[in-house]
């Protein structure tokens, strides 16, 4: 009887006070939410008012990360031969735009022999988008707008798309000879984006064992125009403001015959070469916990953006040491520019080791092309002829790590314009040089072993 009475009393108490408790709870919740909103808005305003050039005029980078890590070649695979598209950037963007609406399955992965790897690339009815070097799986998936189950740090060198919009979408990892394969469940065909009027040149693929990568071999000589561009020089004010952000941080300056050294209180240092205007920016406080390609490529993108190096025609060029060394170059007509800051190898480079990040870049760039009716045409030999020149000079073909047509930057007499001269560039013993320079250097010991 007392149990029933207690139960009844509890029920009565709850009925009497339950509603009041609920209302009190709702009042407390509304107070808490109001305080949280007030604090959040204050934090937001504080962030906006934070000193610093970048925050005051925080222009979000004109270039998304996927456009920095962009393709350097597009190859159409017909039934009996492959053709490289000359003006590929617009086409690759249109292809990718369509692929972002495809529906694909999770990718499976297989490791294959070198022969099988090249054969897979040569499958007809596909178009292959080729990166200049490994790009992290995370960035590739972002570009394709697909969730394919790709490891974030996967090294992707090329993407093969079925022209009919059905079949297999494949991603290729040269160094590990891995192929990630994903079935296209639903997709619009790509063939309509290809125009018969596209200028193309016949190519084929060849496996290079030493560099562990597939080379695109140009079967015909390449006709290329010399180009003239206006030189754009970043002001030292802009260089310093981006390297030492914040109104309270003014660097100390030290000079010697060759360099001007700026040292900031924010663990940053800037070294400017007086002769070439090449800049070395050192961040002594850099901490990247994960030494993985995806982290390194993301971090490098942020750094280049902070340093206002994200020119519209700056693109990813190469990678070394698991992404701890990343190179970027200006591209003209889809081809890389060398000799930007006085030496063929000079480029925008981000090198991360331990707690140090060293970024090497140039104040000068070229973005504005000049009309010039007198631009000459240069005919580069086909790839095999270029290899013959090298083998005759004593180089082993398999010792060549990479080869690409590109432009050498040559200053005009008045220093206002840059003349871009087409030539072959060869990567040998981890250094880039022109075909002519390597030939001049003469006979070298065979080092393919």
């Amino acid at each position: 009887m007392s149990k029933a009475l207690n139960k009844h009393r509890k029920k009565f108490t709850l009925r009497k006070w339950g509603l009041a408790i609920v209302v009190a709870g709702l009042v407390l919740i509304s107070l808490a939410l109001s305080v949280m909103i007030w604090l959040s808005v204050g934090k937001n305003t504080g962030a906006r008012n934070t000193a610093g050039v970048k925050q005051d005029k925080q222009l979000v980078s004109a270039k998304a990360i996927e456009n920095l890590y962009d393709f350097s070649q597009v190859v159409m695979q017909d039934d009996d031969h492959a053709r490289a598209i000359r003006d590929y950037r617009g086409l690759s963007n249109r292809l990718i735009k369509r692929v972002t609406h495809w529906r694909v399955r999770t990718a499976s992965v297989k490791e294959v022999s070198a022969n099988a790897y090249v054969k897979a690339l040569e499958k007809p009815g596909n178009v292959v988008l080729i990166y200049p070097d490994h790009v992290a799986g995370e960035i590739v998936q972002k570009r394709l707008n697909q969730v394919m189950g790709l490891p974030s740090a996967a090294k992707i060198d090329r993407i093969q798309l079925p022209l009919k919009g059905r079949g297999q979408l494949r991603l290729f990892d040269d160094v590990n000879r891995k192929i990630y394969q994903s079935e296209v469940i639903k997709g619009q065909a790509l063939a309509s984006l290809m125009s018969d009027k596209e200028a193309t040149t016949p190519v084929h693929y060849q496996w290079f064992a030493k560099s562990k990568r597939v080379q695109t071999v140009y079967e015909n000589p390449l006709k290329m125009h010399k180009k003239n561009y206006l030189i754009n020089t970043l002001s030292m004010d802009t260089v310093l403001a981006s390297a030492f952000p914040g109104r309270d941080i003014s660097p100390t300056i030290r000079e010697n015959d060759d360099q001007t050294i700026y040292t900031g209180q924010n663990a940053r240092q800037l070294i400017v070469d007086k002769k070439t205007d090449a800049i070395q920016y050192i961040n002594f406080d850099h901490d990247i916990k994960q030494k993985r390609l995806d982290f390194q490529q993301n971090k490098a993108y942020e750094t280049l953006d902070t340093l206002q190096q994200m020119n519209e025609n700056l693109y990813y060029f190469d990678e070394a040491d698991r992404g701890q060394q990343l190179g970027y170059r200006l591209y003209v007509n889809g081809l890389p520019v060398f000799n930007q800051a006085g030496s063929i190898g000079a480029l925008s480079q981000v090198k991360s080791t331990g707690h140090r990040q060293v970024v090497t870049y140039a104040r000068r760039s070229v973005t504005v092309p000049l009309p010039d009716a007198r631009e000459g045409v240069v005919t580069l030999p086909d790839s095999n002829k270029a290899y013959q020149v090298l083998t005759k000079a004593g180089y082993q073909k398999d010792a060549i790590q990479n080869m690409t047509p590109g432009y050498v930057w040559v200053d005009s007499n008045d220093g206002q314009y840059a003349s871009l001269q087409p030539t072959w560039f060869i990567k040998y013993q981890d250094q880039w040089a022109t075909l002519a320079d390597l030939k001049k250097q003469g006979h070298h010991k065979e080092d393919a072993k």
């Binding site: 709702l26 937001n44 979000v60 617009g90 963007n93 092309p369």
Partner: protein
């Protein structure tokens, strides 16, 4: 008063209030995570009372173009114009004054229709068929004037026109739509210097304009356009780049034009 009923009322009121506050907090919280994000900038623009249409987020393509001043071309083709025009040149600008009354109708619509026809007549305008009527620019040019101005931009390459005073035709009318004069600038030998596969989107460009403090609070975006405007002159050639042009109207009804470089998002003066 019945306490029970009062408590029920309070319960519903605070329940609705909590839902509203929760939504508010979620939106503010997201923006704090990334103050520079597009979502945050969109919200800031809204909070400043700035009204815009839905801005495109897609990145269009564009080109670097070069062209030469076409004044000599215009001079050499003056013979094709009817006697009814008195033509003068002032630097690059051709000014044609009608010797007789030319009426473009009695309304803005008829003026546009007849004006377009007039411009296309080779005996009235040299290379007139290369110009495209620009509704928004015409409205802006007519603002604050007693008469009316019809603005035509010279076609460039592809779908984008020039949006530059160096390649434009303006038909100036009085308040009764009678042509007072037209002015014309022209560029010739248009050359594509290079393609730019990715330009910044309309939304990105407007956000940049906002971040440059060029958009006053409570302003309204009245029109936007992507076209080619002059970057510089080199060796007698005009270099044109893709440019986003925005017109905003402030609370006092005054319009201003903002130009953003569509390649790198920089403000163009």
């Amino acid at each position: 008063m019945n306490l029970h009923k009062t408590l029920w009322t309070f319960m519903w009121v605070f329940l609705i209030l909590d839902l509203v506050l929760a939504v508010q907090w979620l939106s503010v919280w997201h923006t704090v995570e990334d103050p520079g994000s597009t979502a945050n900038m969109r919200q800031e623009i809204q909070m400043d009372g700035i009204k815009t249409k839905k801005l495109a987020e897609t990145s269009p393509e564009g080109k670097y173009l070069a062209a030469r001043d076409g004044t000599d071309y215009l001079r050499s083709h003056l013979g094709q114009l009817k006697e009814r025009w008195q033509v003068d040149f002032d630097n690059h600008l051709l000014t044609a004054n009608p010797k007789e009354t030319i009426n473009l109708g009695s309304s803005t619509q008829s003026a546009i229709k007849i004006g377009k026809r007039l411009v296309k007549q080779s005996s009235d305008v040299i290379e007139g068929d290369r110009y495209q009527f620009d509704q928004a620019a015409s409205q802006q040019a007519s603002e604050g004037k007693s008469g009316h101005v019809l603005v035509f931009n010279q076609a460039a390459v592809g779908r984008l026109p020039f949006v530059s005073s160096r390649a434009q035709l303006q038909v100036i009318c009085d308040q009764d739509f009678r042509v007072i004069r037209y002015t014309q600038t022209y560029v010739s030998d248009i050359q594509v210097l290079r393609d730019v596969p990715v330009l910044i989107s309309e939304e990105r460009a407007f956000i940049n304009a906002y971040q440059y403090n060029e958009v006053p609070n409570n302003a309204q975006l009245t029109w936007s356009k992507l076209g080619y405007s002059t970057l510089m002159t080199v060796d007698g050639n005009e270099i044109f780049i893709p440019t986003w042009t925005f017109t905003v109207k402030n609370v006092a009804g005054e319009s201003s034009t903002i130009r953003i470089n569509a390649l790198n998002g920089a403000l163009l003066q």
